[in-house]
């Protein structure tokens, strides 16, 4: 009898396990599925399935007046919806050729940077949770709530904000808003420093994150990475600097970059960006220009309610706006903003009609999530979970 024990052993070791991670796994923070091929604890291959919460926003946008697209953008990256809203407003203003007053730009910058802080807080504190450190999460989430209180004071909504209008902000910052932002700027750094000292130099956290889920700068660029994930690899690409919008060129801030492109670098880039965002908000608030909080775009900017009730012209505009009767120029536009997790782009084709002929959202995480199998190949499952949460993949944006 032939002795082929060795062969059998080799064949046995090639019997990989298939593991379904998701679609509703608590550690994936969103509804997407990963079918992992595992060799023991090591990931050999992974196949992703996305589209579980696809809502056909691009099709809906072709059938709605322009101002009704803003609530759709809320639901892309819902951790930082004001950035999405403003990006869309600025795209429309570019198409209409509207220049907004400086005050609008500064107000937008304040809101967008608050949104960036909220977005990064969610992502970074959840990296902590996934490595077993729940405490930091509970600290900073209280302050994320305070950011939401500021949104609420500005526009009345908290998560899906629909903040601002095409042409400006819906109302001026009230005294309460300014007071709340000042409170935030005064109180948050202390809490944030506590959060930093819990994780940044924590031996366990560093062991779990340094060297896990790495990607090189070349690969990251080839995979279309943007935002903190790209900057963690050492590429200093930031839309706020490369193609400044909303007067970002007025502010003095740094673009933090990492070196290794691993989970720890992604975490640290976000930490530094939070500090930079605080700097930007401080500058914007100190230098908030006086003036109007909206531009003269009567065909898109809703007139004040008192005028609608007492003034024929305002009533007509109100009616035309609400019915989506405003004329727009024919043209094609690509406008992008630096969203919470990367370059959020709007490709708008207008044929002069009352709705977009074609509107495509460049969703950053849809593009960079492709790289996930390559990033986690050969790592353990627990590292892959941390790498995934450090990529800041938001299901709403992934599936549009």
């Amino acid at each position: 009898m032939e002795n082929n024990l060795n062969n059998t052993f080799e064949e046995q070791s090639k019997n990989y396990t298939t593991l379904n991670l998701g679609p509703t796994h608590p550690a994936t923070h969103g509804i997407f599925q990963n079918i992992l091929t595992m060799d023991g604890e090591i990931i050999v291959d992974s196949e992703q399935t996305v589209g579980y919460i696809h809502r056909a926003f691009e099709k809906i946008a072709e059938h709605r007046p322009f101002y009704q697209v803003t609530p759709l953008t809320d639901r892309l990256n819902y951790c930082s919806s004001p950035i999405n809203n403003m990006g869309w407003h600025m795209t429309m203003e570019k198409l209409l050729g509207v220049t907004v007053p400086k005050r609008v730009d500064y107000m937008r910058v304040i809101v967008m940077e608050l949104a960036r802080i909220a977005d990064h807080l969610v992502c970074n504190s959840v990296i902590g949770v996934d490595t077993g450190a729940l405490t930091g999460f509970t600290y900073v989430f209280q302050w994320r709530e305070k950011i939401y209180d500021i949104y609420e004071e500005i526009c009345g909504a908290r998560l899906t904000t629909n903040i601002g209008r095409i042409g400006g902000m819906e109302r001026d910052f009230s005294k309460e808003v300014i007071a709340k932002i000042e409170d935030f700027l005064a109180g948050f750094p202390k809490v944030f420093n506590e959060f930093c000292s819990l994780l940044e130099r924590n031996r366990i956290f560093m062991d779990r994150t340094i060297g896990t889920g790495p990607i090189t700068a070349e690969k990251a660029l080839n995979y279309g990475f943007t935002g903190p994930n790209l900057r963690a690899t050492g590429v200093d690409y930031d839309v706020r600097v490369m193609n400044p919008y909303a007067s970002y060129s007025d502010f003095d801030f740094n673009i933090p970059v990492g070196v290794n492109g691993d989970t720890y670098d992604r975490f640290m880039v976000r930490q530094e960006e939070i500090r930079e965002s605080l700097k930007i908000i401080r500058q914007a608030l100190n230098n908030l220009p006086a003036g109007k909080y909206f531009a003269e775009v009567p065909s898109f900017y809703l007139p004040p309610k008192e005028e609608v009730y007492n003034n024929m012209e305002a009533l007509i505009w109100h009616f035309k706006i609400v019915m989506g009767e405003a004329d727009v120029p024919v043209g094609e536009i690509y406008h992008s903003v630096e969203g919470g997790n990367g370059e959020l782009g709007y490709y708008l084709v207008s044929d002069g009609g009352r709705a977009a002929y074609r509107l495509h959202f460049r969703r950053p995480c849809f593009i960079y999530y492709q790289a996930f199998p390559e990033m986690v190949k050969g790592s353990t499952l627990s590292d892959a979970i941390v790498a995934m949460s450090s990529m800041n993949v938001i299901a709403g944006e992934l599936d549009a």
Partner: protein, 168 residues
């Protein structure tokens, strides 16, 4: 800022790849060129490797449908970005609806992989040479391409609503 202008890009392409540009225009500061569908890969390789242009970042790839353009109904729109020059370029290529085939650029840009799948999913444009061309956001059993203009947003058999006053 940019060390190269839109005109220079068009000139470079015209000298090195004659006949590649069908039309060129500038829309809101971004140079837009239309190319034949069989030149896509060729042009992208050229732009990628050209020492002065280095269009090495694919920002965006999406489909578009113009039902009235005979034999050029479906299009693919690429936005590429030259990070060294900080210049963006929009490239369009159209294919007939009867045979919507275009070369895949996923061998040049890995980021094109899912974006081409998405375009296939919504417009039915077939990317030849794509490693894994199947639907991505919609269910595999779907028999139509939902972002084409002929597909209505809602079930058109509904009689309780008159949508003709709103939208298209």
């Amino acid at each position: 800022m940019a060390n190269i202008t839109n005109e220079e890009i068009i000139q470079h392409i015209q000298t090195d790849l004659p006949g590649c540009i069908l039309s060129a225009e500038e829309s809101f500061g971004m140079c837009t060129i239309e190319i034949p569908a069989n030149q896509v890969k060729n042009l992208f390789q050229f732009l990628y490797a050209h020492p002065q242009m280095e269009f090495q970042f694919l920002t965006d790839l999406c489909g578009i449908h113009y039902p009235n353009q005979v034999d050029k109904e479906l299009g693919v729109v690429y936005h590429i970005h030259s990070l060294v020059n900080n210049l963006r370029l929009r490239i369009k290529a159209f294919v007939p609806k009867a045979n919507p085939q275009i070369e895949s650029v996923s061998s040049i840009f890995k980021s094109a992989n899912w974006q081409e799948r998405e375009t296939f999913d919504f417009y039915g444009i077939v990317f030849t040479g794509h490693p894994n061309l199947k639907r991505i956001l919609n269910v595999d059993e779907m028999t139509y391409y939902p972002l084409r203009k002929e597909y209505p947003l809602e079930d058109q058999h509904r009689t309780d609503k008159n949508d003709s006053y709103f939208g298209r």
